[in-house]
């Protein structure tokens, strides 16, 4: 469970806090949708949850452990994070290496990396692009690749910021079904930041609205 307690955050040089006194819990084994109007702090909250931003006050705990004392590397082993802009998280020279990057760091054998990479490339319909430079892909392809790179690590929690951005109807449906399987079969706790009401209505168990 990810617990957020009395969280306050203000960006430097901005007079008003983006988040003030936020307390919420995100359960393992379910999909929670984080919704709200533009600029209400959804992306800020998602970045705070994974330690990309540090709160002014308040605590965030993952399975009881305060993330204030954890490095990004340690948080990354528990939470997979999808950036709102996929360009920010693609850095490998090829699509194939992008998926395998995290697996190689975790000490997975070359055979398993090859098998996993093939599975995720196939799942996200990117097999024909496996030798391409990730930053040269279309927006939808980049989004699918970024999702594949995060999901390949099978973290116990996922925080996905606008995961359906740039995806066509078929890819959205496949992603929704996959997220449901991860939540139900593997007990993965998933937080989806999204504006897409149809996707949320179809796949989320709970909605948290920021005002």
């Amino acid at each position: 469970m990810i617990e957020v307690d009395k969280l306050n955050f203000t960006y430097p040089g901005v007079p008003r806090p983006v988040l003030a006194g936020i307390s919420v819990c995100f359960q393992a084994g379910g999909i929670t949708a984080l919704i709200g109007p533009n600029g209400c702090g959804k992306t800020t909250l998602s970045k705070l949850l994974v330690g990309l931003l540090r709160p002014d006050s308040g605590t965030i705990r993952i399975d009881g452990e305060d993330i204030a004392g954890l490095s990004l590397f340690q948080i990354g082993s528990r939470i997979g994070y999808l950036w709102q802009n996929p360009n920010r998280q693609l850095f490998a020279p090829t699509v194939e290496q992008e998926i395998g990057f995290g697996l190689a760091n975790r000490g997975v054998t070359a055979e398993e990396i090859a098998a996993d990479t093939e599975y995720w490339l196939d799942f996200f319909h990117l097999s024909h692009k496996k030798g391409a430079l990730p930053l040269r892909l279309s927006l939808g392809e980049k989004q699918r690749l970024a999702l594949g790179a995060v999901l390949a690590l099978r973290p116990p929690y996922l925080v996905l910021d606008e995961p359906t951005g740039g995806l066509d109807r078929r890819c959205r449906r496949e992603l929704g079904q996959l997220l449901r399987r991860l939540a139900e079969e593997q007990g993965c706790g998933i937080l989806v930041v999204s504006h897409e009401k149809e996707f949320i209505r179809q796949y989320a168990d709970r909605e948290v609205e920021l005002l």
Binding site: V50, L52, S71, L72, F73, I75, G76, S77, I79, G80, Y81, W83, N87, R88, Q89, L90, F91, A92, P93, F101, G102, L103, A104, N105, R106, L133, L135, R136, A149, V150, L153
Partner: protein
């Protein structure tokens, strides 16, 4: 006197003089004097010590590495450190290391001095030097992109860590490999952004007419003259003292 209020042309002149002197002078004492002068100008000119430290901190490891390399590989002068009959550091090596380190610090400090104030004033200062409008605009746009590029580099480093890179405990070799990996997305991203920006600008009639007028005018005031002449006077003294 606040540096932000000084005319951009004065600051560009000081930047050019400081950089030229830093590259031509070879004595550590002369370079130290230049650095002290620039730091005094920054601190009394309203630049927060925290900001100076943040900017300098980023290149401290590079300065340390270059200092070490110069110390180890420059063999001139008297031996200063001998271990097991092998000369490790010589007087010439130590001096070369100090010179490189001080030069880099002067470049950073003088850049901080020049970056006070508004970027549009630098655009006007470059126009005053009769540079083409397109070139001036490109310089201004490049300056605006610097914080964005830094944010991208930070995000990429964060993404690498979240996907299993333990940067804190990584060896120098692993770190170097990761930093090289980061160059690819940052360079490609910058090129893509530049391309998109140029198309967007052309689509909105950039260069449709030759030249461009500006409501804002640069005006040299008495304080600008005093500050510029005073600074140049001190630079001349340093030059002749250490010539």
């Amino acid at each position: 006197m606040k540096l932000a209020a000084i005319d951009a042309r004065v600051k560009l002149l000081l930047l050019a003089l400081l950089s030229t002197l830093a590259l031509t002078m070879k004595q550590p004492a002369a370079l130290a004097a230049l650095l002290v002068l620039t730091m005094v100008a920054l601190l009394f000119g309203g630049v927060a010590p925290v900001k100076i430290w943040r900017q300098t901190r980023m290149i401290l490891s590079l300065i340390g590495l270059l200092f070490l390399l110069q110390c180890l590989f420059d063999r001139g002068g008297e031996p200063l450190l001998i271990i097991g009959g092998l000369t490790i550091v010589t007087g010439g090596g130590l001096q070369a290391g100090l010179v490189v380190g001080l030069r880099l610090l002067i470049v950073v400090a003088s850049a901080l001095l020049a970056l006070t104030g508004e970027t549009r004033d630098y655009l006007l200062a470059l126009r005053w030097l009769h540079l083409p409008w397109e070139v001036c605009y490109m310089v201004q746009a490049a300056l605006r992109f610097i914080p964005l590029l830094r944010q991208e580099a930070q995000d990429t480093a964060a993404a690498q860590q979240m996907r299993g890179c333990d940067l804190k405990n990584a060896s120098w070799r692993q770190r170097a490999r990761l930093y090289i990996t980061m160059l690819v997305p940052i360079t490609v991203g910058a090129l893509q952004r530049a391309e998109a920006m140029s198309i967007s600008m052309e689509a909105r009639a950039f260069r449709s007419r030759p030249g461009r007028t500006s409501w804002r005018r640069l005006q040299m005031k008495r304080d600008d003259w005093l500050y510029g002449l005073g600074f140049v006077f001190v630079l001349v003294i340093i030059f002749f003292v250490f010539k």
